[in-house]
């Protein structure tokens, strides 16, 4: 335990060091992952969900609000990007922007409606609204492709017309596109949680009334945190759509929201690296379990996932990263 402890302490000391290490790992990942039985597709999924979980942690870990509906923003962004890319052949980056913008607006509206509710009640409401989008996606056949999902989302070249353009069709290249997005997202989050804003979120998590009594408009900060986390979800969603060239209703399902909660908690709530690790572990596990842990030729990853999750909830609520972290 002391070895990781030391290693952890050094990491802890220097921000740029941390981010550099992280970036290097992410950039080398496709070359490492085959050794854990992975492949590019898996690497891509890990990074996408790392982005998702990283943002979700802003809400759950730093503000202390549990949402069970963030898959809605993930899926919504993916779908709207897909639709606009398919129907009016605009550049991919533009399409992504559109998807993210739409999801954000939705987040703002829903946020306004429910942000004043707290704790479990809030969680339930997020589930409910998430499901609304799930059913719209799975029923509005003509528009969303219904249960068939939305096929034929293009993934050819990214770029700004006239300036530059790179093909991201090939998996490896697409991975590096995502990796760049991830690193940017990571830096932004890092800045964010170390900014005044991030500090205030912490005070809200610690003691909402007091935060209010020293003059912070708690509701506004909570709403902002909700929106920002949704933006991260949206970014992940658009990338996911590009990754599969395809969106399907189950991406909006509350079970998917549950996944990101699991990732964040297993990795370690309120820590910077926790959710990233959590996402990696869970995504990897799902694939590895479905490859190696067949019972009567059937896959029961939900079972294993559930057990692991229960173990963390009951015994190490601080998650993997929190487990290494020195308890004050």
């Amino acid at each position: 335990m002391s070895a990781p402890r030391v290693w952890f302490e050094t990491i802890k000391t220097n921000a740029y060091f941390q981010l550099t290490i992280l970036s290097i790992i992410v950039l080398l990942w496709p070359y490492i992952i085959p050794f854990i039985g992975g492949y590019d597709g898996l690497a891509i999924e890990m990074v996408i969900f790392a982005i998702f979980a990283m943002g979700f942690n802003i809400l759950l870990g730093y503000t202390g609000i549990l949402s069970f509906g963030h898959a809605a923003f993930f899926g919504l962004a993916g779908y709207s990007m897909g639709l606009i890319l398919i129907h009016l052949k605009i550049p991919i980056l533009l399409g992504m922007l559109f998807g993210i913008a739409l999801a954000t607006v939705t987040a703002i509206l829903i946020g306004f409606l429910i942000i004043r509710k707290t704790g479990i009640y809030f969680a339930m409401l997020t589930i409910a609204f998430g499901q609304m989008f799930f059913f719209i996606a799975s029923r509005w056949k003509d528009f969303t492709g219904g249960e068939d999902g939305l096929t034929g989302i293009p993934r050819n070249v990214i770029g700004i017309p006239g300036l530059f353009s790179i093909s991201i069709f090939e998996s490896r290249r697409f991975y590096y596109f995502i990796a760049v997005v991830f690193i940017i997202a990571a830096i932004v989050k890092y800045k964010l949680i170390h900014s005044h804003f991030g500090q205030v979120l912490k005070t809200i998590r610690e003691n909402e009334t007091r935060a209010q009594m020293v003059g912070y408009n708690v509701q506004r900060y909570k709403l902002l945190s909700f929106i920002i986390s949704s933006i991260y979800a949206a970014v992940a969603g658009t990338l996911y759509g590009l990754f599969l060239n395809y969106m399907f209703p189950q991406t909006l399902d509350w079970i998917r929201s549950g996944d990101v909660v699991i990732m964040t908690l297993v990795g370690g709530m309120g820590t910077f690296f926790g959710p990233i690790i959590g996402a990696g572990v869970i995504v990897a596990l799902r694939v590895l379990i479905s490859i190696y842990a067949k019972i009567k030729g059937m896959v029961y990853w939900q079972f294993f996932m559930g057990i692991i999750f229960l173990a963390f909830v009951l015994f190490f609520p601080k998650g993997i990263w929190g487990f290494f972290q020195k308890r004050e």
Partner: protein
């Protein structure tokens, strides 16, 4: 024994992964260097995706078994082009996203040469799109939906299953001719499959035979209580009630049809049924249904396959091969034959030799994958569902009433085009982008 070992490994493994250090374990897995052929030549890798879990697990298993039988036969004969056939099977319940993920895994990790299988059309269509993007040949033998070879067709997709259009046409023509049904009442599952089925039914009954649709009800998926619809139907006194529903909906609808004693008042028919439904319907079975294949087909080929399947898979006394077995078997054998003809696994020659090649589909007339939509044209059976107390085996679920020649049953080019058929991509696009 082997399973046991795998389980042991995996348990230890993911414990480590939880400890956030995955490398060690999977390294050992990785070094096993999974798929390298025994003797020199690399094997031909097939990636098979079936729902081995979820509501369609039964059908998925049947298709898997059929396909496996084909592989074994060819491997016994020393493989194809002297290369061993290896099939990597993935479980994808009816969630298309998982379908695509599994396809990606098969292509990117296991580097398979061909993709086969898939059951629900949502998964099929999703995988087909991916297969096209990777320029992998994909033999789909699950989905009945028209889209697969019409609006969502691809140069890389070959579909063995009979599409709804043909099933409905065959069934409708038969009841119109033999029961001279003219007035029909439709109960239609409210999703694409149901809608297209109803249209095909009406096309024959109303347009071809000048009949009339007295009424129709769109029932949402998972409808369990058809009393309202059945009572409406009873009021209108049609010659025949047409059930454009599948799965549990069909089971419930037919059962209640019997319960309400409607069979004395009208006939029952539907575009598609099969063993799984008949199991559920039990002794309430009734009506004429479109079928793809049946164990009692008296062609030598079918007899041979029937025997082989019985030998390989019979689990209980009443057990009999289902048409899903047939689909899996025929698809794989024909794929292998094509590879033999092409003398390579490269995609373009294989595609070209598959198109319009007439082969013995173990039915009365020869079957072939049409060049313009890659739909497998074959004889379509119509069977009478009858399961009374003295049934012997699952074969007795249906009694074959007759069959329709493929070319009459399937949409011709004009019909295909006008109903949203999408022209296949040109061959040169098959060269990987």
């Amino acid at each position: 024994m082997k399973k046991k070992l795998i389980k042991k490994v995996s348990r230890r493994d993911f414990l480590k992964v939880v400890g956030a250090t995955g490398a060690a374990m999977t390294l050992e897995q990785f070094l096993k260097a999974p798929y390298v052929g025994a003797a020199g030549k690399p094997p031909i890798l097939l990636g098979n995706i079936e729902p081995l879990s979820g509501p369609y697990a039964d059908s998925g298993r049947d298709e898997f078994q059929g396909a496996k039988l084909a592989n074994d036969e060819y491997n016994q004969k020393g493989g194809v082009l002297g290369r061993e056939i290896k099939m990597i099977s993935e479980d994808a319940p009816s969630n298309p996203g998982i379908g695509v993920q599994k396809a990606k895994k098969l292509v990117e990790r296991d580097k398979v040469d061909f993709l086969t299988g898939t059951l629900t059309s949502s998964v099929t269509i999703a995988v087909a799109d991916y297969a096209w993007s990777q320029r992998k040949l994909f033999v789909a033998f699950g989905s009945h939906s028209d889209d697969t070879t019409m609006s969502k067709s691809h140069r890389t997709t070959f579909r063995t299953t009979i599409q709804n259009w043909a099933l409905s046409t065959a069934c409708a023509s038969w009841i119109a001719k033999n029961w001279n049904v003219r007035k029909v009442y439709n109960i239609t599952a409210d999703y694409t499959w149901g809608h297209t089925a109803r249209e095909s039914m009406n096309r024959v009954i109303v347009k071809k035979f000048g009949g009339v649709e007295l009424g129709n009800d769109f029932t949402p998926l998972g409808t369990t209580d058809f009393s309202a619809q059945l009572l409406k139907a009873r009021g209108l006194k049609p010659d025949c009630l047409i059930v454009n529903c599948y799965g549990a909906d069909q089971i419930n609808c037919v059962k209640q049809f019997k319960e309400f004693g409607l069979e004395k008042e009208m006939k029952l028919a539907g575009p598609l049924s099969g063993t799984p439904m008949m199991k559920g319907i039990g002794t309430a079975a009734a009506g004429a249904w479109g079928l793809s294949w049946h164990g009692t087909i008296d062609t030598p080929g079918s007899k041979k396959l029937y025997a082989a399947l019985m030998k390989a898979y019979q689990t209980y006394k009443e057990w009999r091969p289902s048409y899903r077995h047939y689909l899996g078997y025929i698809s794989h054998t024909q794929l292998f034959e094509a590879i033999k003809r092409a003398k390579t696994t490269d995609i373009i020659p294989v595609v070209q030799t598959l198109e319009d090649y007439r082969f013995d589909g173990l039915k009365w007339n020869r079957s072939y994958w049409r060049a313009f939509d890659h739909q497998n044209v074959q004889d379509v059976l119509v069977g009478l569902a009858k399961r009374d107390e003295n049934w012997k085996s699952e074969d007795d679920y249906f009694q074959i009433l007759g069959h329709m020649k493929g070319d009459d049953a399937f949409p011709n080019y004009e019909e295909w085009k006008t109903n949203g058929g999408r022209e296949l991509e040109p061959y040169d696009m098959l060269k990987k982008a």
